[in-house]
Structure formats: C-alpha cells, structure tokens
C-alpha cells in the first residue's frame, strides 16, 4: 500500500518531468504573475493631465493652480494656459481624444469672495470613462484644495484625528497583493491540474489500465492528489521567495503556521478539483469548469476589493468560497503576524469545508469508477 502510493507519486512526477513545456510553465507561472501584478497594480495615480481654466486671474487663483502643480499628481497641460478663454464645453472633445483627464475651473470673483470671507466654489471636471483614475484624481484634488483653503483662510478645525497605520506603514500595495497572488496560484494550480489530470487519464483510457492493477482506487487518487499538492506548495514557495527577495515584502508571522494552513487549504482545492473531474467527461469541460470556479473564487475572495464592500447577498455567497478564508489567513500571517488564535474562525471554516468536499468527491469518484 505504502509502496504503491510512493510509486504512484514517482510516476506522476516523471510524467510532469517528461513534459518540458509543462515544467517551464510551472516555473514561469508564479514569476510572470508576480511581476505583472507586483508592478501593474499601482494605485498611485500620477501625472493626471489637468486643463486649467482660470477666469479669475488673481494672485490667489494662481496660487491655487501652483498648489495643484506641486507634487506629481497633476500635470497641467501647456495648451490650457494659452487657451484660457476657450469655452468650457470644448472639454468634451479634450476628454474624448485623451488630451486631458481632468479640468479645474476658477470662475470670476474667486479671490474677491475669499477676501470677503465667503464660501467660494471651484469647478472640477473629470473624464469618468476610467472610473478608477477619476475617483483617485477627484480625491487628490479635494485634498489639495482643502489644504489650500485652510491655509488661505487661516481656519483650522478645533478637533483633529491623528491617524496611525499598522502593518504596512509605507502603504505599499505590493505587500498586500503578493500574499493574494500566492493564494491565487495555490488555488488555480491545484484545482485545474487535478481536474484535468484525472479526466485526462479517463479520456485516454489509462485510468482503466491503472484500475486493473492491484492498486486500490483511493491509493491511486491519493497519489495523484499528493503530487499536485506538492506542485502547488512548490509554486507558492517560489512566489513567496520572489516576493520577499525581489519585492522586499515583509513576512512577520510564522512560516510554519502558514504552510500548515496552506495544506489545509489544499484539502479544499484538491477536493474541488476532484469533484469537477467527477462531473465532466473531457479535459476541455474540466478546464472550463475549473476556470469558471477560479474566476468566481478570485473575485469573491477579497483579493481586489474588500468583502465588506460587497452587497449583502454577495457577502453571504463569499462564505462558500474557501479562498476567502485562506486570503485572510495568508495576509494575516504575513503582514500582521496573526497567530492561531486570531485565525480560529477561518481555520474552522476551512476544516469543515475541506472535510465535506473531500469526502464527498472521494465517494463520488468511487461511484463513478464502480
């Protein structure tokens, strides 16, 4: 039994080894994903092209404009200063061909109003087609105008909040994304490879050949699953190493705890992969189903946007997504040094989820084979 099991794992590894393209992908996947996500996911929106229409032409208005120019948030367009008197509705054309992303309009009476102690208004227009950049740009704009407003009026609020940031004081989004990528890799590799590999043996008929050998069905299955678990953990370790060495992300908590819980998480993903293999009959179907699940799992795991931000119905659905729990676990351990006690609810959920899906799929697999 033990020998058969070890032999099977060897067979699986030889199979992976023999396919240099597959091997290359297994190495390239974490590297490419990390580099793409680590560098592309840049939340610092910089150099927003800004048209300035200054109808006030006063010292105060020019000061506001230079306050906007300071820092590298906004890039006032040269042209805009020349065309100060151009009607504002021309902006539609400027936004359409991409020459400007935002516009600041300072109307007549801006400085005189301020001097009287009134509340004056400046117009800020944004191209909302890229909602992400527009939102950030509006935020920057509000910050700068508020700061300038406080300075020029000399009014500061009597009560202030002093903010302190824990865990990620430099506010590096890479620190937050890399643990998420590791979780994604673990999930995708194990679910996809497991479901496709089992179906493949069935499709090509080699599963039946294996069945007639004296190896028991569950030994066969465990051998396969162990291989993919090892591959998944290897990918995750590779990604973590690159994350720590290349991107310099911190690893505060216990690596041992993370590995143990990654193993627990793999129980759920291998179970899912096995389940998909029992309800499909071709590799293509298995792949589609795994892909369908992967997209759902990634989008509802809190990887890109926090779960608390989702509508209540979706929030309830996320409880059915094992990745949701592992996402909190890996981010908690790596960034915050969370321990076993902090993560108890997540661990409990993974145990229940893993036990149910794993045993259910095993039973289904036996039935299909029988």
């Amino acid at each position: 039994m033990r020998r058969a099991y070890l032999g099977l794992i060897r067979k699986e590894f030889i199979q992976v080894w023999r396919d240099p393209k597959m091997l290359g992908i297994i190495f390239a996947m974490p590297v490419v994903q990390l580099l793409l996500l680590g560098y592309a996911v840049n939340v610092d929106v910089k150099n927003i092209t800004l048209d300035v229409y200054d109808f006030d032409r006063s010292r105060t208005s020019r000061e506001l404009v230079s306050a906007m120019k300071a820092g590298d948030y906004f890039l006032p367009t040269e042209e805009a200063f020349v065309r100060e008197a151009t009607p504002v509705w021309d902006l539609d054309a400027r936004f359409k061909d991409g020459s400007a992303e935002m516009a600041l309009i300072i109307s007549n009476g801006f400085s005189s109003g301020l001097a009287r102690g009134d509340s004056v208004t400046v117009g800020v227009l944004a191209d909302g087609a890229d909602a992400n950049s527009a939102r950030t740009g509006l935020g920057y704009c509000a910050q700068i105008v508020n700061r300038y407003s406080r300075r020029v009026t000399g009014v500061s609020p009597p009560v202030e909040i002093r903010h302190r940031f824990l865990y990620n004081p430099e506010a590096e989004s890479v620190n937050y994304m890399v643990p998420g990528i590791v979780a994604t890799l673990l999930m995708m590799v194990t679910v996809m490879l497991t479901s496709m590999a089992i179906v493949r043996e069935r499709e090509t008929g080699t599963l039946e050949q294996l069945m007639v050998t004296p190896i028991k069905v569950h030994t066969l299955l465990l051998g396969k699953l162990t291989t993919f678990a090892i591959l998944g953990l290897f990918e995750a370790t590779l990604a973590l190493t690159i994350g720590v060495l290349w991107f310099g992300i911190p690893f505060v908590g216990s690596p041992l705890l993370l590995f143990a819980l990654a193993g627990l998480f793999l129980l759920t993903t291998l179970g899912m992969g096995m389940f998909f293999s029992t309800i499909t009959s071709t590799q293509q179907q298995a792949m589609f189903l795994a892909w369908f699940f992967a997209i759902f799992a990634i989008l509802t795991s809190g990887f890109f946007t926090p779960i608390s931000n989702m509508p209540p119905l979706i929030q309830r659905i996320t409880y059915l997504n094992p990745m949701r729990y592992f996402m909190s676990i890996i981010r908690g351990i790596m960034m915050k040094g969370a321990g076993l006690v902090d993560l108890l609810p997540e661990i409990g959920a993974l145990i229940v989820f893993g036990a149910v899906i794993f045993s259910f799929s095993m039973i289904r697999f036996h039935k299909r084979v029988g």
Binding site: D19, K21, A28, L36, A40, N42, N47, L64, D92, F95, K96, L114, G117, S119, V120, T121, V122, V124, L125, A126, D127, G128, D130, A131, N132, A134, G139, A142, V145, S149, V152, P157, P158, V159, E160, I161, R162, H163, R164, F165, L166, N168, Y176, M192, M196, Q283, Q284, L289, F292, I295, F296, L299, T300, T305, P306, N309, M310, P311, K336, D342
Partner: protein
C-alpha cells in the same frame, strides 16, 4: 469555399454536442458581468470601524453616531477587546479603531483644540487611505453641524462634475473592458485548445489527409469561434444594458468593425499557441499565461497603463486588449468616432496583421 463549409459544420457539431462546455461558455460572461458589475465596487463603503469611547459624554456618543450613520463606516460584528484592542485588527474583524479620549466633550464645549487617535489596519493600502480621508470627512461634517446656522464658513468648496460616468459606477467602468477580455479568452483559448485536441487525439492527421487544404481546415475551424466570441461580447453588452443600465453612446457598427480586427488578433495568438504545444493541458496553461493575465492586468481594464513602470508600458503595446479596451470605452461611454480612435485602431490593425502573418506561417510549416 464549399469545403470550408463542411469543416465549419463539423466544428459546430462538435461544439453543440458538448453541451456542458457550451453552457459554461454562455454562463461565464454572465457571471463575470454580474460579479464585476455588482460585487466589485471600487468605491469603498461600509468599512468596519471599532470605536473605543473613554469620554462617555453626550458629544462622544454623538460622534459615534455620526460615524456609524455615515455610509462609509459600519459596526464590526465583534466588540473590541479592551485589554488588547489591536487584536481586532490582527484578526481582520475590523479595519480601524477610533479612540475618543477623555475630555473630548468638554473641549468641544469650550471650543478648545483636541486630538482624537485612530489606528488603521494599513495592510490594504487603498482601504487604509480611504479610511483616513473618510474619517476626516465625517469629523468635519460633525463639527460643521455644531456651527450655528447663518454663520458663513469661509473656505473653498469643490463642485465636481464627472463626464460619461457621472456616478462612477463600477459596471460602466468594467463592462467595456470585460467584453475585451472575454473575446480574447474565448478566441485565443478555445482555438488553441480545439487545435491541440485534434493533435492530442491524432485526428489532425486524419483531417490533413482529407482532400482539403490546411488553410481551409484552419479557416473552417476558426469561423465558429469568431461567431462564439462575437456572440459572447453581444451577450455581455445586452446583459449589462438590461441589468446595470450601462450606456452605449457611440456607433455599434464601428465597434463591430474593430471587434472583428481584435478577434482576428486573438485567433492568431490561439493558432500560435497551438503550434507550440502537443496537449490541451499545456495549451490551456500557455493561453492563461500569455493572454488572460496580460489582458486583465496590462490593458487598462482595471489599472491605467500610464501609471505603470515604463518596461511594463512597453510590453503593453504588444497586447491587443490594450488597444481594444481604449476603443470600446471610447465608443461605448464617450461616443468617440473613428477619427479620435484612429491611433488605437491603427495599433490594433498593425498588431493583428503581424500576428496573423506569423501564425499563418507557423501553421503551414508545422503541417508540412
């Protein structure tokens, strides 16, 4: 031409026979539209915040009320542990803790200066920045409410106006890009897999011995997938329009024209991949790595290309989705015409032509 029809018929039969795959190909776009339009909201709301009130005054209770009544913040499910308050951040049950120190109510009554402390879980940099600015807004509104009416507040207000997507709705932002991603996925992935499958099962050789030219096999095999890709794109647009009210301002025919060029580019990538691999599994992994990920990450679908480091920006010029995302957003949301989109259109056409050339050559040499 006649022979191509037979290949097309064979391929369509293959597709129709595999009902499960077909269901997923139709269900996937709907699920993605639903999730991106409904679940993924870039506007951060309902951040859980714990409030530790040491002041116990009417004012501190009012401030607590202001925080929880604001749409930005909500109450966490578990109370904060007074002995180890930060454990609630460590276990991610709450995103921030506001400390109201003793003397807050008194200071407010006397008009004295006072400072509140707030500890924010900074692990998610975006969320943390949002918490910081929202908390300032809530506090400002709270203080403004206490100013007697009629007294003018000096200062500069902002009157924002957003073009094309006034409420910055995430569905309007994501759906055009989603069409680009789905069309890429369907075209590149399905083609590479269907050709790899014929190779893996050995039926490709059978097909080649039949009295049809390799180019005819290729065209015949690809036509149904062009149809599926376009169908999926239209499905997403209709679904988005009906459910999320995503507008379509520009010319649909212009979009269709660019869409065909884009699909041709994606199919060329699919052919290229299939010429490199022997099994479906490898084809799928390569397709995932070379089309899906870059199309999602480097096309401007979520993150604007111009904020990326220069090397990544250079890579993005090789990604068809980069051009198509700009085109489809321009047409759908801004009603941009061909003149404005010429630059992106030209980039897409050039890229498509070179991909097609390389793919065609590779397919021929492989077949011989």
């Amino acid at each position: 031409m006649h022979r191509i029809r037979f290949i097309v018929r064979k391929e369509i039969l293959h597709i129709l026979r595999d009902v499960r795959s077909l269901i997923i190909v139709i269900a996937m776009p709907i699920m993605m539209t639903f999730l991106y339009g409904y679940a993924i909201n870039l506007d951060i709301e309902n951040v859980t915040i714990s409030i530790v009130d040491f002041d116990h005054s009417r004012e501190s209770r009012d401030l607590t009320g202001s925080f929880y009544n604001s749409p930005h913040f909500s109450r966490p499910k578990v109370p904060v542990d007074p002995l180890d308050p930060e454990s609630i951040l460590r276990s991610a049950r709450s995103s921030a803790i506001l400390y109201i120190k003793p003397g807050f109510g008194q200071a407010l009554g006397n008009g004295e200066e006072h400072t509140l402390g707030m500890t924010i879980d900074g692990s998610d940099a975006i969320l943390a920045a949002a918490v910081q600015s929202y908390s300032n807004v809530v506090l400002r509104d709270f203080l403004l409410e206490r100013v007697p009416h009629g007294v003018p507040v000096p200062g500069i207000m902002i009157s924002p106006r957003v073009f094309y997507n006034p409420d910055l709705k995430s569905a309007h932002f994501f759906v055009p890009g989603l069409v680009a991603i789905l069309m890429m996925m369907i075209s590149a992935l399905l083609t590479s897999i269907t050709i790899a499958k014929e190779k893996e099962t050995g039926t490709m050789e059978q097909l080649l011995t039949a009295p049809v030219r390799p180019s005819e096999i290729l065209v015949g095999k690809l036509l149904p997938y062009i149809l599926i890709a376009l169908l999926d794109g239209i499905l997403v647009l209709v679904f988005a329009k009906v459910v999320f009210g995503v507008p379509f301002v520009g010319a649909p025919l212009l979009l269709l024209g660019f869409g065909l060029v884009y699909v041709a580019a994606a199919l060329s990538i699919g052919i290229l991949i299939s010429s490199l691999v022997a099994t479906q599994q490898v084809a799928m992994m390569i397709a995932l790595l070379t089309t899906m990920l870059p199309s999602v990450m480097l096309s401007g679908f979520i993150f604007a290309v111009k904020n990326m480091p220069v090397p990544l920006q250079a890579v993005s010029y090789l990604i068809p989705a980069r051009y198509f995302v700009a085109i489809i957003r321009g047409i759908m949301l801004k009603g941009a015409g061909a003149d404005v989109l010429a630059v992106h259109g030209l980039g897409l056409v050039v890229l498509m032509a070179s991909l097609l050339l390389v793919a065609g050559r590779r397919f021929k040499t492989r077949v011989d």
